[in-house]
């Protein structure tokens, strides 16, 4: 599987990733690192309690990392959650809507990680 194919599968923006990291070698290195990072675990544990502070922090971290990997849709989703739970912001969503949003993010993130897993398998 090529990196382009991986990005197509993940729904990521390969061009943007390329703009940030310049070389495929580096994109390869960092998408693999995403798989081992704590991004999803943190969001998942925040989801358990739906604690606003935890949600804000984990979504914020997810936003930064995904942004730098060219995973623009994930970054946009993380941004929505970040703003929803940013201390001082007025909530726009109902609790259920918010919960669904986070669940969605977790699902998309899982799908992305699965894609990376498949990518790794194909390269091995």
């Amino acid at each position: 599987m090529t990196l382009e194919e991986l990005y197509a599968n993940m729904g990521g923006n390969y061009e943007h990733a390329k703009q940030i990291m310049k070389m495929d070698k580096l994109i390869d290195k960092y998408v693999r690192k995403l798989k081992n990072s704590d991004i999803r675990t943190r969001l998942a544990s925040a989801f358990e309690t739906m604690d606003p502070a935890q949600l804000f922090e984990s979504a914020h971290a997810m936003k930064g990392v995904c942004g730098n990997l060219g995973l623009d849709d994930l970054a946009a989703l993380a941004d929505e959650i970040t703003e929803e739970f940013r201390p001082g912001n007025n909530r726009k969503m109902s609790d259920e809507e918010a919960k669904a949003k986070v669940q969605n993010a977790l699902d998309m993130l899982q799908k992305t990680l699965d894609c990376i897993e498949a990518y790794e398998q194909s390269a091995a």
Binding site: E57, N68, A75
Partner: protein, 568 residues
């Protein structure tokens, strides 16, 4: 733009982000140009900042982090005097965070994701340049020893205060250290530097309590521009006490001059006056604080006028030379041996001006050469005239000023006078003050030795007012000692003073040179000096300084005594 990996020691950047991917991406962007250290939370960042505080050129700081967030790091850095010179660029994607970070002292921000590499590089490089530029300015702005302003920056800021806050009553204060060169010479430059540093520190802590700025203006002169203080003696005592703690033996004395605020008077003028006041402390003053007043202003104006009038005075023959006789008192009756030439200035509008008023003035600006030249020429001419008229040589002594000593044409100038007037070198004696000897040391000694080889005789003037050691004295080239007038004034009433006189006479005997006592006013003093073994006397007892025609009567008396002697 300086791309720093091309230089030997690349600049160091700290990247702080909790996410490894973010750190690595940023590192990748920067690594070709900078050395990079990383931290993954605020706490670790502070440890790194402290560890590398002398080397760090910039901090790239994420704001949202576990353990300690970026705002806390930013706050700690900006509130720490040791660290707040390091610029911080925040890494963020939110406008509100940008604003808050900038308000807290961040230099700039970089937005996530890091997709505009050139923009990131340009921002980092520009912030480093700005910060290094500011360090350069700060280095130029401050005196490295005391961390006070340099004089140019000081006046720049003083002028701003003066212009922007005309309602503040700001006084000019000038502080000097007495005989600072001697303190250096006796204790070493390191000690001297320490004195300056301690005084600088104390001035800064004084300014922390009141409004104002300060500068080490030059060597040991400090200028303070501060809000009017109720009592400057308190301020001076505070500084003096601090220095007293430093050394009990070094005896460091401060003097202070103050020019109080005056509406519309610019700082530079205020400080001129404060310096004048500070210089008035020199000498025997018991007080070490002087406030500039009307009297000083009048004297300054007079001084300015006299300096302006000097050339005209020479051209219009307002100067004349008076002569005061010196008598050998070890014979009976005392006999005329020589004279001292003394300048007099009859100003067309101000009348007779005392040499005490204009000589220090012209010594200060170097114009004393003009006066000296005039006196030497007149004296040489007068000696020749008396020689011709009476067939007798009355040697006349003239003063050599400090500036003359450094004049390479001095020997030629003197030689011409002697030759042109057909005199012997020993007919014109040269008086040099003791303080000139001690201040100019070797250069003066070699010059004087040379003049003596030619044939001039040298009188050491004001002996006892300086600080010659016996050891120095024995190596000084002199032919005659002139005792300082102060010794004579009280010999009748003060046993101590008379003992000092006898001591000087002993020293002179040890050096095998005659002594001239100046300022002798009455017969009693004369007798005491004669009994103590003093050779020659000059003073009102015999005669005030008089014009040449009146002096001639002393020559005539001398001639009669000689005739009498021949007949006997």
């Amino acid at each position: 733009m300086i791309r720093s990996k091309q230089i030997k020691n690349p600049q160091l950047v700290l990247v702080v982000d909790d996410q490894e991917i973010n750190r690595d991406v940023l590192g990748m962007i920067l690594e070709d140009y900078y050395d990079i250290v990383y931290a993954e939370n605020g706490k670790e960042a502070l440890e790194k900042i402290n560890e590398y505080r002398e080397k760090l050129s910039v901090i790239l700081l994420d704001l949202m982090m576990p353990v300690m967030d970026g705002f806390t790091v930013l706050e700690k850095v900006k509130n720490d005097e040791q660290l707040n010179h390091i610029p911080v660029i925040v890494l963020t994607a939110e406008k509100s965070a940008e604003l808050r970070a900038l308000q807290m002292g961040a230099a700039d921000f970089i937005t996530k994701p890091f997709d505009m590499h050139e923009v990131i590089l340009a921002r980092v490089s520009r912030i480093i340049e700005l910060s290094e530029g500011r360090k350069l300015i700060s280095a130029a702005e401050h005196d490295h020893l005391t961390m006070l302003y340099n004089k140019n920056f000081f006046f720049e800021y003083a002028n701003r205060i003066h212009n922007y806050h005309p309602e503040w009553h700001m006084d000019a204060v000038v502080i000097n250290i007495d005989q600072f060169h001697t303190i250096n010479a006796l204790n070493g430059f390191e000690f001297g530097d320490n004195v300056l540093r301690i005084l600088g520190n104390e001035i800064r802590s004084f300014l922390a309590e009141t409004e104002g700025i300060a500068s080490r203006f030059e060597a040991d002169r400090f200028d303070i521009y501060c809000i009017q203080q109720p009592d400057y003696q308190v301020v001076l005592d505070r500084f003096q006490n601090k220095l007293n703690e430093l050394s009990e033996t070094a005896n460091i004395r401060l003097r202070m001059g103050v020019k109080p605020w005056n509406e519309d008077v610019e700082p530079v003028v205020l400080f001129d006056c404060a310096r004048t006041a500070c210089n008035k402390v020199r000498g025997d003053n018991m007080t070490h604080l002087m406030i500039y007043d009307e009297d000083m202003r009048m004297r300054e104006m007079l001084g300015q006028r006299l300096m302006n009038d000097l050339h005209q005075a020479v051209d219009e023959h307002q100067f004349t030379v008076y002569y005061q006789p010196k008598y050998n008192i070890q014979v009976d009756p005392p006999r005329l041996t020589s004279a001292e030439a003394l300048i007099r200035w009859k100003h067309p509008e101000l009348g007779m001006i005392s040499p005490a008023d204009f000589i220090p003035l012209f010594e200060g600006n170097g114009q004393i050469r003009i006066v000296d030249n005039f006196v030497w020429a007149e004296a040489a001419h007068q000696i020749a005239e008396w020689k011709e008229k009476y067939d007798i040589t009355i040697p006349v002594s003239v003063n050599l000023s400090r500036v003359d000593v450094f004049d390479p044409s001095l020997e030629d100038r003197l030689r011409h006078l002697i030759v042109d007037n057909s005199l012997d070198f020993k007919d014109m004696k040269l008086e040099v003050t003791e303080s000139a000897y001690t201040e100019n040391g070797e250069q003066l000694i070699s010059l004087i030795s040379h003049l003596r080889e030619i044939g001039f005789e040298i009188e050491m003037d004001d002996f006892g007012s300086g600080y010659s050691s016996l050891n120095m004295l024995s190596s000084m080239p002199i032919d005659i000692l002139k005792m300082d007038m102060k010794f004579i004034r009280n010999i009748e009433h003060s046993e101590t003073d008379f003992r000092l006189v006898k001591l000087v006479l002993d020293i002179a005997r040890y050096l095998d040179v005659p002594v001239i006592a100046e300022g002798v006013e009455n017969e009693n003093q004369l007798k005491m000096l004669k009994d103590a073994g003093c050779d020659i006397v000059q003073g009102f007892y015999f005669s005030r300084p008089v014009p040449p025609d009146i002096f001639e009567k002393y020559i005539v008396q001398e001639l009669e005594l000689r005739k009498l002697g021949e007949r006997q």
